[in-house]
């Protein structure tokens, strides 16, 4: 199997907190809103830096990265590995990337009404092209309905239905999930990236500890508890998935700790 452990996807931006390096997920929301004169998306594969992403969001010239790494303090943003995995699973299985997981919505444990509500009211852009004009009144009413659905999601019956589906779908899709952009390892390749001397002067910081002017955190909170509860259960049974998941999380936690200790 292809070894992704040293491949790193990251975003580098200049902000009012200085230069910050982080994941695509954090980069494409929080950093986008806080970038001053530099914002670029990169992949580091087999020793090669590749610039990619949405050109309309980019700021500054991508080729400046070497100079920035050599001459500036870089704050590497870290997230708790389990926490990141949980929000990554939400992103992959409920949001825009569900097309990559055929059969996930057809599992016996999938509740079509629950998925319908989620798709329409939490992640409506899955069906609306970016750039389409949305009338203000529509957006306002959408917020109201979203609020109503959010309150439904707090009901025990919704949580139970989620847990039922997560229990089946996470092991079913894990082989793909673990190499996806939102779940694949971040702390391990970042550690190797730094060890190879790519960044001269760095520090690390937890996402929640950096206080940006525009703080757009994840809106996935209501899904986290059912996933966490599900993972607690399905990683205890000694299955192939349980072993694979535990090894994945342990590795990420190991490098997360190395990064925290080294800075």
């Amino acid at each position: 199997m292809e070894d992704f452990t040293k491949d790193l996807n990251f975003v580098l931006a200049n902000t009012d907190k200085g230069y910050v390096l982080t994941t695509n997920k954090i980069g494409s929301k929080t950093l986008e809103d806080n970038a001053t004169d530099f914002l670029q998306f990169y992949k580091y594969i087999d020793g090669t830096l590749i610039n990619f992403g949405n050109n309309t969001l980019h700021k500054g010239r991508p080729g400046l990265i070497k100079k920035i790494f050599d001459n500036h303090l870089i704050t590497c943003l870290l997230r708790d590995p389990l926490e990141r995995t949980i929000t990554g699973i939400v992103e992959e299985l409920l949001v825009h990337d569900i097309k990559n997981y055929p059969g996930a919505y057809e599992l016996a444990s999938a509740n079509p009404v629950l998925l319908w509500l989620t798709e329409r009211y939490f992640f409506p852009n899955t069906t609306v092209n970016k750039g389409n004009e949305v009338h203000l009144a529509h957006a306002e009413s959408h917020k109201m309905v979203q609020h109503i659905v959010e309150n439904f999601m707090k009901q025990p019956i919704f949580r139970q239905q989620w847990e039922k589906w997560w229990t089946e779908v996470i092991p079913y899709t894990w082989d793909k999930l673990k190499v996806s952009i939102h779940v694949r390892k971040y702390n391990e390749p970042l550690y190797h990236f730094i060890q190879e001397g790519m960044i001269k002067n760095y520090t690390t910081c937890l996402v929640q500890d950096i206080n940006f002017k525009h703080n757009n955190h994840h809106s996935n909170w209501m899904f986290k508890q059912p996933i966490r509860k599900t993972l607690d259960t399905i990683t205890q049974d000694g299955s192939k998935f349980a072993k694979d998941f535990s090894s994945y999380i342990l590795e990420e936690e190991k490098y997360f700790k190395h990064l925290r200790d080294a800075s």
């Binding site: 079509p112 009404v113 319908w116």
Partner: protein, 280 residues
Amino acid sequence: MDNTKDLTFVLANTSNGYVLTTYKIGTIMIQSNATDFLQFMEYSHHEDKFNISDQQVNRPVKGKAKQVRDILKNEHITCLIRDPSQRTYTGIVQELLGYESIEYPGLENLSSSNKIINLFLNSYFFPFKEERRRKAWDLDETFRNIPESYVTAQYGVRDIISRWFEQETFRLELRMFFKEAIPIYWHQMCTTSHISPWHYPLYNFIESGHIKNYSVKHLHELSYKHDNDGYRHSNKVFIPAVYDTFDYLMNEGRWSKFQDDYNMFIQKEWKYHNLLLGNK
């Protein structure tokens, strides 16, 4: 003892004169439009006796029950009939989704039962099932302690959920549930006041000479002051799923015992529905 000719009915005086109808139409539509007479009755064919219906508890009756026989003999009575299939479909909704669903043990645990849909139904369309069962029909008492703002908000949410039920996903989920539940519970359902034959006992009631002067009409032929969806059936959002289900269950290529039972039931109701229409 054969009680298939027993008739449970509502008799009311309205702006359209005296009307005799089913319990379902009577408790919403006719009740809201009654002037000086409204009674909920059961006629026992075997005993030739009119009894006050057990189901009238706490209903706002008007006039005296003992006048029923005289009114039937001396006044012109409009007997309301309904499309038998349509009546059965709305009756099924009432029995399996509405307040009566509490009478069907195991219903919500069928494998096709969607827990989220049940929450919407129990919380927003047919709330207080247990309370209504205990307190019968005293809605005032049930709702007395609920703040008005809560009730208003509930209507708002109910309206949103109604729109969700128009979506294909919800219809498909309901269809899956009905496909499993209807054949399982048919024998219980077909004896309930919402579904048990209406046209057959009404025909026999008239043939026995209890009504001297009558006409036969469908509800939509009458015009009433209080007449909108709130006073008619509020089940229309669920009906398309029942149609889909019957298309599936009654497909001739898929014979089942339920098909035979249902055909016998509905064909008899249509026969007497048509006879009633033919008579007047």
